[in-house]
Symmetry: C2
Subunit: 353 residues, 2 copies
DNA sequence: CTGTTAGCGCTTTCAA
DNA sequence: TTGAAAGCGCTAACAG
């Protein structure tokens, strides 16, 4: 007897009941082998292009597999391979509203670019809610996890590291073993933006910042203060307690209502650029005449307003690309992977400044 | 000898080299069992809360597992269980720009709501590019796939069905075996919007529609034509060849530039609501005085413009919820799952109309 | 050049 | 109440 007709012994029957597709049980490698009168090995080799098989046999195996609609069981392959080529994706911010992060153009871009880069390298991305809990990912065979914008001392990072899942995040995880990072140079970005506004004539530039403990936002505040100190400028900081267009627009109005009036505005809290312009208009301020405006934003509408709005792009697509490159190198590389990569932000100057 | 110390025989050594976490090989069930002086069976039962074990033994097993940092191998469990609790997510539109769909507030909401609902039911969502190819998902153990807004006769749907992966999509896949659907009642939505504009006084309502073969867009056009015929109104259709704020704003200007001037505007192509208002303003038209505006949009900025913009919401969160409910029922249910669900859209009337 | 066999790590009969 | 053994579907080492 070459291949057992019956499972033999006393094991349970084949699981996987209703989860399989439409009709009947799925075709397995052994089914193809039996049908073609070959062994599993031969068919496997034929299909994977490995081993040394006669062209005739290889073709017969392939043809039979095609005819029977054979599709290899991905889970079995993963078990054999020892990894699932699955990457978790989670953001640290927005833990209160765990699924709103895609409303942010920045995270929308970062997420899609990450998925794209991952897939290009043969990894698939699974989406997790912001501030995800163990129970939501414990059952997933994650090879690694990407933690976008963790908050200060994020428990997410701790949990993944404790579970021995390699973490890819921002610079706040630098020097954690098992963690790698990609980040944008916040200090340089802030200086660049403030210098730009100063060159255009602004002497009192107000900062509108979300009240968040993300590393980027902490560094922005520090850099702004530092810059103000270095230029003898007054600190004009408005913290936005909540995310969303409404709260940020309100904060912009408050910031611009200060006396004496600011003549520069650096909006780091995400908001629709047209609405930032509307807020200035509501106060009767001309842009850029009375106040020059720079927004940290990936929102494409910035280019179509009147005047178009100068934006500081955090380059989510490049962050994603570098992050995945790092990940692949760390997971598959020969070692020698750098612990992290620092990118510079990209100031796209338009008429609003 | 109770447990083999060595793998015995001549099989290969344990795979999974660099993919495992930071230090050393992962702790397996057998390691815990050996350490606790128990069998795999007992430890497994203890950890899963199954079987009849003495509380003392159960506790000992749990304690040992905790101490050793044991984490069950998800892939092995999946193989055993016969399914991976993984769902593919792919959109049919935007195949030319496969990763831009998250820039659309509608898809951003739909995607996050789908991931949320799926996870709540114990399924994880993996992100695929728009118009994804076989090779990108063939290696993934997908229990099902969600195809958001397929184009006409979408090859995506064919491919998944051919691979015997259950498809959850919109009404265009109705009566395909193995496919289920959730959709929004486009006809009612269009009538409702046009009736609303008519009640407010609009007699010439122009339609700005993307040039797409998505079912929703096809039905919108048909419903608009039908409504115009029924009301003796002239058809004023502007097709937008490309997605994006720029092209749509341009199309809006063209639509409003027609002679005699439209006094109603129904923008189905996605654009930032403030930019639609800007387009009207550029033509010197007052909203809602000269032209009443309704936008199909999930963009939160619509509520903060001046005037706030009336929107027609396609209720992505509810679509996601119903879709996942259907999916769970079809995959795990006792049968009796309906083939599809039809939702009505939600007109949120604001000052622009 | 092809087939037999072991085993990835887990859950689950069934026997003790 | 506990443990041994089978096997989910696949790949690879080795024997023929």
């Amino acid at each position: 007897m070459t291949t057992r007709e019956q499972p033999g012994g006393h094991a349970g029957k084949r699981p996987g009941g209703p989860a399989t597709g439409a009709a009947g049980p799925r075709v397995r490698l052994v089914d193809v082998a039996r049908e073609a009168g070959l062994s599993k090995t031969t068919v496997s080799a034929a299909l994977n292009g490995t081993g040394r098989l006669s062209p005739a046999v290889r073709e017969r195996a392939r043809e039979t597999a095609r005819r029977m609609g054979y599709r290899p069981n991905a889970t079995a392959r993963q078990l054999r391979a020892g990894r699932a080529r699955l990457i978790g994706y989670v953001v640290g911010e927005f833990a209160g509203e765990p699924w709103t992060y895609l409303d942010s153009p920045y995270f929308a871009r970062l997420t899609s670019a990450t998925a794209a880069a991952a897939l290009r390298h043969g990894y698939a991305l699974v989406m997790l809610p912001a501030g995800s809990l163990q129970r939501e990912w414990a059952e997933l065979p994650l090879d690694a996890v990407i933690v976008a914008d963790p908050v200060e001392d994020d428990p997410l990072v701790e949990d993944f590291l404790a579970a021995r899942i390699p973490v890819f995040s921002d610079a706040s995880v630098a020097d954690r073993p098992g963690a790698h990072w990609v980040d944008v140079d916040a200090d340089a970005a802030v200086r660049g933006s403030l210098d730009h506004l100063r060159e255009r004539g602004s002497r009192r530039t107000a900062l509108v910042l979300p009240d968040s403990t993300t590393r980027f936002h902490r560094e922005v505040l520090a850099a702004y203060r530092d810059w103000c100190a270095g230029h003898g400028a007054e600190e004009l900081v408005t913290l936005v307690p909540e995310i969303g267009n409404g709260p940020v627009a309100g904060a912009v109005e408050r910031a611009l209502g200060a006396e004496p009036r600011p003549d520069g505005l650096f909006v780091v809290a995400e908001a629709s650029p047209p609405l930032v312009l509307d807020a200035a208009r509501r106060l009767g301020l001309a842009v850029p005449g009375d106040v020059r405006v720079v927004c940290v934003s990936e929102d494409s509408s910035a280019a179509y307003t009147d005047p178009p709005v100068t934006t500081l792009s955090l380059r989510p697509a490049d962050i994603a690309e570098e992050g995945i490159a790092l990940l692949v190198s760390a997971l598959e590389g020969e070692g020698g992977t750098p612990p992290g990569v620092l990118l510079s932000a990209d100031l796209q100057v338009r008429a609003s400044s």
